[in-house]
């Protein structure tokens, strides 16, 4: 199922997507009906104030969480109808995750962290190859503690792309990085999009990054307030921080 196609067909389609968190007495409406089409092979940026539901949406389309109501399709798969085991299979085969705080396993080297994913993927690339793509081939034996924050995040990118996922979901991947290292990470994401045709969904608070996206979704209060289509996305190196 995995592998990217850049035929303009939608990767995700959702309508009326809502998510309500219940903790004890209180209810939080994190998503209040999101209608959205994500075309395959594009780079998308989600912008919006804190608490507007961006991470919630990303978790749901990545199969980490389930919506309270609404429909959600990945290509022709109905994610809302899947049981836990099928969702696990979906994540394993099609989704690459990148998080703000790298989330590398400290007791494994860079290469072993990548292998954590390639061990169970269906047609993965070589771990060394993935590290090569992010320009860290020479650091493959280093433990996370021996790498800088930017390098760690690039290992996380290598780990996410190593399985050749259909979609890369990135929650504030540059949130903890300075502009230079941030741009370096964005370049690897753009490279994956370009060479592998991977759909990239990227959450950020940095409006400058929106310039590299094909499409920008503006979130407000659990809804998509506005969609911007960018006819000429710029190269990440031109992103103003």
């Amino acid at each position: 199922m995995n592998g990217a196609v850049s035929d303009g067909a939608p990767a995700f389609r959702c309508s009326g997507l809502a998510k309500i968190y219940r903790t004890g007495e209180t209810e939080v409406q994190a998503l209040r009906g999101v209608d959205l089409v994500i075309p395959a092979g594009e780079i998308l940026v989600l912008l919006g104030p804190s608490g507007s539901g961006k991470s919630t949406l990303l978790n749901i389309i990545g199969g980490l969480d389930r919506p309270s109501s609404g429909t959600l399709l990945y290509r022709d798969l109905d994610l809302t109808a899947m049981d836990d085991r099928e969702l696990t299979r979906f994540r394993r085969a099609d989704v690459g995750f990148i998080f703000q705080f790298y989330n590398l396993i400290p007791s494994l080297t860079a290469e072993e962290n990548v292998r954590l994913v390639t061990d169970i993927a269906e047609r993965p690339m070589n771990a060394a190859e993935a590290l090569e793509m992010v320009g860290l081939a020479d650091r493959s034996d280093h433990y996370p503690a021996q790498l800088s924050g930017g390098e760690q995040q690039r290992v996380a990118v290598a780990r996410a792309i190593a399985k050749r996922p259909g979609v890369l979901l990135c929650d504030e991947p540059t949130g903890a990085l300075d502009s230079r290292t941030g741009i370096r990470v964005l370049e690897t994401l753009a490279e994956a999009n370009r060479t592998l045709g991977t759909t990239v969904v990227l959450i950020t608070h940095n409006i400058g990054i929106a310039a590299m996206a094909h499409r920008v979704f503006h979130f407000l209060d659990g809804r998509i307030a506005r969609v911007e289509v960018n006819a000429a996305p710029i190269d990440p190196s031109g992103v103003s921080w």
């Binding site: 978790n59 969480d65 994540r91 989330n103 396993i105 007791s107 494994l108 962290n113 954590l116 994913v117």
Partner: protein, 705 residues
Amino acid sequence: MKALDLKLARDLWRMRGQVLAIALVLAAASATFILSLGVHRSLTDTRDAYYAESAFADIFADMTRAPRSITARVAEIPGVRRVEGSIRQYATLDLPEGRAPARALVNSLSTTERSLLNRLTLRAGRLPDAARPGEVVADEAFVAANGLALGARLDAVIYGRKQPLTIVGIGLAPDYIYSIAPGDLIPDNSRFGIFWMGEKALEAATDRTGAITRLALTLERGASEADVIRRVDALLAPYGGTGAYGRADHISHAFLDNELMQLEAMTRVIPPVFLIVSTFLVYIVLGRMIQTERSLIGLVKAFGYSDRAIGWHYLKFALAIALIATILGSLAGAWMGRGMTSLYAEYYRFPILRYHISPAVIVGAAALAAASAGLGALGGMRAAVRLSPAVAMAPPPPPVYRAGPIERLGKRAGLSVIGHMILRHIARWPARSAMTVFGVALSMGLLFATMQFVDSSRSMLDSYFFRAQRYDLAVTFIEPRGADAMHALAQIPGVLRVEPTRALPVKLRSGSRSERTAIEASASDARLSAHIDRDGRELTLPPAGLMLSRQLADQLGVTPAPRCQLHGLYGSKIGGRCSESDLISPAGDLPPAFFPVGEKSRVDGDRHGFGRAGSEIHLTPAEQPQLFLPRGGDKIKLRDVSAGLFPDILDIEGSRHGLLAGEPEPRVSKLRVAQPVSEREKRFISFAAIPPISHIRSIDIIVDG
């Protein structure tokens, strides 16, 4: 190796301190399990094989003297397969100069035909030559303990007559796998030996031509032991039979059996405690680990690892501990097993006693270790599996702390901030805290339980040797003796006090329960052997009736107050049956340290016939090893007392301990005496009057006929 397994291996290494600690606790379980089960199996297998090969008998019977032809009549009893008669006789041995005399139990050995039962296994040398009466086979342990060799010569006093012996062979027999001298607390190979002598030679030495003193027989499959015993007893009654008994009451078999039971108990008691403790430890360590790895678990789940893979990952952590424990435990178990087996080799005389651990035992230990660690991992695994990948990505919400009742108490007590943190932490995870407390409590319990073994055996030795057994020397006769013997002994210079005792083998029956035991009689004012109760108080014998040890009373289901009936004392005087006699059993609260009457009978039950029961006379020794005979006044050595003083003396036994100093007594004539057995410190003791033997009135037993 898979990356996740690499993480596991590195986690194990990073947490090696904790891992090793748990593994050691678990290894203790495995080791004791392997040790006790392994030794148990080795011992059982060895015993069974040896019994089968050497035709160990099913029933034994001792008598004063019966014609050899009695075996033919016993053979006719339905259910009896093979019968063999023999002579057994205690003897006193002169060991090389400077050594205290030792004792031997001499068995007759059929020289014309191969023994049918309880076959002797020759380890070295040859069987005695029928033409040379002084030739004997000696048991291996005695020979080794005394540094003897084939061809060694010893002087023995057999049946009151001195006779030179030559050791021509070294052997073992299944009825002496364990042997202990009558009255001894622990076996002493150097002071008690088993000898085998040609049948004719022993007949001649003991004036028993054509006679036997012991029967051994095997049963047909399915025969009733109780029935056969009843019939054998009826046949032997006229010959001073002391009651036939099965393997369960055979001293060698019973001790071995007891040992096996202890090993079994050890298997059942000790490993479970370690197992439970390690389950708790795994639970606690893995629980903590999973809590700190929440985001990591979520991450791995986000990558597409299944719940099962994650549960298995943490289970592997526990199983790795179990594996380490099994390896350590097997090594330790095998090592301790070897040590324990060599310890057994000192006490039990088997032709071969090899410790082998069967793979099944190790597999069993591994399964137990895996189960206990796995059980401990279960809680953590469940938590890990339950974590949703999305929730796991977020840090754990801060736990809800509340000021509990304990804390409010603490507040009043003016606790510091740190104190509050500790209290809240304990109260926040009550299950974990309770488990920790329970685990530590169990370990402490184990520590106390094992350390008390040392204390209890010390206390037992103390009450047995120093408080109950105060005499220095015990003299045993073949026939009961009267006041003349008491006076004669009292005449020996250095002897301060002589007290008579008598032991009668009996079968006590109350309702449907019965026990083979011995009744020990002593003067009501006896002071050389005391009866001590559980609280350490000295008990005086009741003026009439019978005092039972608590254990025996429980076994018989006898309560102190009521009158109970004593039926059928075995082997009554001559051909007689014993009448019933009513016995009152007042509260006898003897701790097990006082050899319960039941134990005592096992030790020397076959030494005393009922009608011709041996009397024990306790006396204190002289300072010098020389005694003056009252009659001729010749100087003789202590070890010659048996030959010179009383021709029918059976045994002289030195107690290891003397009278306690400063015993108050009228008519004091203080004397300096040392113990004859070891050159221990000299003691001042006092002189006392000798009670006449007719004073034994503490038990009323009516014998009719």
